[in-house]
Each structure stands twice: as C-alpha cells, then as structure tokens.
Amino acid sequence: MPFGRSHHRAAPLLAALLALGASVAAQAPEGFDSSRAYAHVRDQVALGPRPAGSPANQKLREYIVRTLARSGYKVVEQPFAASTPVGQVKMANLIATLPGERPERIAIASHFDTKPIDEFRFVGANDGGSSTGVLLELARVLKDRPKPRLTIEFLFFDGEEAWGEWRAPNHTYGSRHYVTAARTAGTLASLEALLLLDMIGDRSLNLRRDTNSTPWLTDLVWATARRLGHGAHFLDEPFPVEDDHIPFLRAGVPAVDLIDLDYADWHQAGDTLDKVSARSLQVVGDVVLAALPEIEARLLKAK
C-alpha cells in the first residue's frame, strides 16, 4: 500500500503540521513522492520477468525513457552485446543527465533487469523494481529543483544479474560496459561519485555498511540517514557486497552501495509487489536527496 505523498525537506515541524491535517504542501518544495516510486515498481512488475535480452526488458526500457521524457529528460541508450553463458545477449544501459553548474558529475544508479530464472516466475519487485522506481522518482524531483552545483547522471544498468551462479564475469554486464566505454572516451575522470541503489524496498529495511564501498561516502550517507531520523534502517554492521559499484571502485570512482540483502525472497518467486513498502522507498529517496548536497560540498571542497 502506498505510503502517500510526503514532503520531508521541511522535517519535524512540517511533519507535525501534516499530522494535524494542515495543508501546507503547496508551500513546501516538491519532495520525494513514494507513491509515485511505488507506482513505478507496480508498473515494472506488471511487465512480468524482465531479464536482459527479453521483450519485457525492452518494454521496460521504453517505459523508463517515456517516464523521464515527461520530466524533460532526453534519455540516451547505450547499446552493447554481452557474452553470457547463454551466448551473445543484446543489452542497453540508459543514461539521463541533469546539467549542474559544473561539468563534474555524481551518478545515481540502479539495475533494471531481473534475474533470469527458468524454474519459476520471477518478477523482481524488490530486486530490480524498487531501486528503478526510486531512481525514476529522484530524477523527477531533482529536475524541479534549482540547478545542482555538480551535474547529476542517472544510470539505469542492464544485465546486472547472472545467468545461474554469480561468478565473474557472469554479472554486472551493464555497469562494466559503462565503465569501459567511459574510460575509453576519457569521461570517467569527471565522474566523482556513484550512489548505487539495489533492493531497497523491503518492508523491514535493514541497510548494512558495504565494506567494498568508499568509506567517506558511506559515512556521509549513514550520517545523513541518522540526521533525518532514519538511523534505525542504516545499520552499522559491516558486510561485503559485490554489485554494480565494483567496476567503478576498481576504476577509482568513489562509490557507495545502498542494498538490503537481508531479504527472505531474494531470487525467489516471492519477490512480489506485496513485499515492497512505499515507506522504505521514501526513506531511501529522502536520504539520497539530503545526502546529495553534502556529497557535492565535500567534492567541491576537495578542489
């Protein structure tokens, strides 16, 4: 059930007014709307399983392009052919850019494919769906705000999931392709940070600190979460994760992965819409929005 519209930027006072039933939404800046993010998750699930190379995956790409176009983004498709255990698979990342005052950029990313599983119908509401829904909503909200100091790049990766067992190089096809292409093009140097979102819709949201992620970036996000009163969802327990951020880290780009792997339906038929909570999407959306200016400030200070 959707959590509904929220305008968290004005924090406790506004929350109190809303609780009293006062309508002050018109005066608040447009906030992250978890009901919109949730609707995106629902729409993705309605497409069925969306593994890389499938017609549903193609339909989802069209959905992402359409959704972003409504907010005024021109989406670029980055097509490539990936060598997988099932042969060559045509994949495509999607990239949308919000120009900032400076050309250096921060990327916010999610994979949009779902794990190819033959044994049962796997629709990846949380794994693939939740973070893609949040990323689409973040793009909408940020477009309506004043121009950011650094450019923001929204990256939608294809082919994160492995065919069968997760063993290199049978995973993270899209992110690896992006990094290789950007390195060749000489554009990786101006990418200053990556915020990766994955599986962030679980009703009981428990984000643990990924030990592969860049410590200062993780610290900053976790501190922001605490500041917003979401500390209970951002646990201090360390654990290592391999995900789409690894190719970036290897290329020297600071990156943080926000992922909740403590999820009973991970890669199970039960990863369905009812497991996704708009409240969790809201928490992550709010934390990312609040962390962005601080990440900008930190990066600009280093210049």
Partner: protein, 403 residues
Amino acid sequence: MIDSLIFDWNRIGAPPRPPVVILNDETLRDGLQSPSVRSPGIDQKIRILHLIDALGIGSADVGLPGAGPHVAADVERLVREIADARLSVKPNCAARTHVNDIRPIAEIVQRTGMPVECCTFIGSSPIRQFTEGWTLDWLLRSTEEAITFAVREGLEVMYVTEDTTRANPETLRTIYGCAIGAGATRICVADTVGHATPVGASAVVRFVAQVIKDAGAAVGIDWHGHRDRDLAVINSIAALEAGASRVHGAALGIGERVGNTPMDLLLVNLVLMGYIECDLHHLEAYCHAVSEACGVPIPDNYPVIGRDAFRTATGVHAAAVVKAWKKGDRELMDAVYSAIPASLVGREQEIEVGPMSGRSNVTYWLEKRGIPASEQVVDRVFQRAKASPRVLTEAEILAEVYR
C-alpha cells in the same frame, strides 16, 4: 556595457520617435483571406485574440460580419470575449462602403454593448475605377451614405481607401473631404496590392496628413500594408515617421496573396527602434498559435521566430558566442552575433555541431547539457561532424559520447 561595445549607425540621422504608435491586428480578417490558410475554429480564434491582447496590440480586426451569418457569429463571439475577459484590445470590423455590410456591425454592438470600430473600405485608384466602371460621383455618394449611416448607428468609422498608393491626389482629397465631413474619425491609407516603396509610403501619408490639416479635422491616419514587394515592415515604419499613428499587420504576414505586414516582425522592429515598449515573451506563442490554427508552417529561416533564428553551426560564430558564455555574460552572448537578443522573445542562442563547426561548438553543446566532454569525446564528435553533410542530430552526437 553592451551599448559601449556597439556603435549604432542606425541612430545616425534617425528621425524623431513618432508621438503615437498603435498597432492593429489583421490576422483574424485579412490574414484569413490568404488562399493557403485554413480558417481557424472559434476556440482557436479566441486563443489568438488573447495572445493579441497579451502582446499589448491596441486593436484587432475581428472579421467582416457582412460576409455572412457564420462570420457574423464568430465576430460576435470574439467581441463578447473581449468584454467578458476584460481584454484591453479594441475590436474593429471591416465593411464595404455599403449599408448592408455596416448594419451587421451595428447589430453586434447593440447585442454586446461593446463599441466596435467600423472600417469601411472602397477602391480609390483610377485603375480600379476604370475596371469597375465607377465614377467619382458614385464614390462620393457611396462614401457619404455609408458613413452617415454608420455614424447615425453610433459607430466610430475608419474610412479605408483601397489602393491609396496608386490613387490620384485630387481624387483622394475629394473623397477624404467627403468622409471627414460625414463623420469619419480615421483614414486608412491602404497599400492594397503591395505597390509602395518606403519613399512612396512616406509621400502618400504626408499628403493625407496635409489634407486632414487643411480640413481642420482631428482625424488619425492608419497604414495598411501588404508584402508583395517584401517591403511591408519598412513601409509601415516609413508611414509612422511620416505621420501615421496606427499600423496594421497579421501574424506571420499571412493575408491576401502573399500577405500583410508581418505583425511579429513589425513589433520586434518597433521595440528595437524604441518606438514602442512591449513584452515580446508571448510572440512565439502568438505565431505558433496562428501557424497551427491556420495550417501555415513557420519556415526554419523565418526571422526571430523560425527554428534557425538564434542557431548557428559555424565555427567562427559559435566560438565568439561560446567565449561570451564562458565570460558568464548572457547579454554579451546574446549580442555578439545577433542583432536581436534571443532573450527579447524568451529564447536562447543555440549552437549546433556540423561540418562547418569548430571544437568549441562540440564542447559548448556537451557542457550545456551536462554531457561529459573529454578531449576524446570532443574529437569523436568533431570527426563525425566533419564527415557529415549536415548538422548532427542530438542522437548522433550522444551516440559518439556513449559508444
């Protein structure tokens, strides 16, 4: 600062600013007489009327109700809209110099309670008189009857002499005397076939001003131009400088044959010359509304409004614009290669990438959109542009960035 960087030769020997400059919009009457236009629906006409008002245009010809009940119904609806929406634009209607055309206007005024100026027209040149078999007596009789009727009905009358720019001065003097005597408050000098040059426009308006002065009447002069020789805008300016106080135009220059004076370009020039003050941010909407409603496409190279008006792909031009951009000076950027600031009409300078482009075009194009611009990327796009017979599309440029 920009003023100190531009020596404006246009000011050398320039005549003084005309004391009164009013605009009259002919889009919804003469504009619709273009053989190529599709007649807009009433909702589209209302939208256009609102945009005419938003541009601060003083008056608008909303149709010739004598043409039939369908036109009369539209005219009445538009007059009501002006009243209901409290628009500032004043309505007027065309009519032949005949009671049958004037009566429907008077009836609309009765029903709406809104004053509507009656613009009653008659041919005045010898070539027209000869072809039609009109005598001067007939002209005078028609003029007197029609204007007397209109004035008795309480209408303000503008007497429009068709083909004035090819009419004999003595004929004009005689019929204007008659019209003024019958109660006309304005005289419209019509360059009906687009014959005039600026010298001719100036001469005929000065002559008419003298006739009015000799008659001792307080009568204003209108100039109604056509663009057959593509001199319509400059003729209108010449007419104002010679003593006209109201000039006519139609959006995108639509109208009879190749059209009327383009109102949009007339407005822009009058603003740039300091003859009027007006917010031109609605100009694009006005032109596009008329373009869509009338099925008249706007050519890419149409000044100010066309797609290419502030767009360049040439290396030298773009380099100068980009240098101004890098100085962070919008005004400089808008003036260095442009006589008309794009911001005047709410637009921006656009730089494209094509075979004539330099690397600065590519860098600007990418940076403007926040697309990462490394040397390699700029080089890739630059090479592709050099090999292309035309300006690259957005997709072609982005494909080079992310391949």
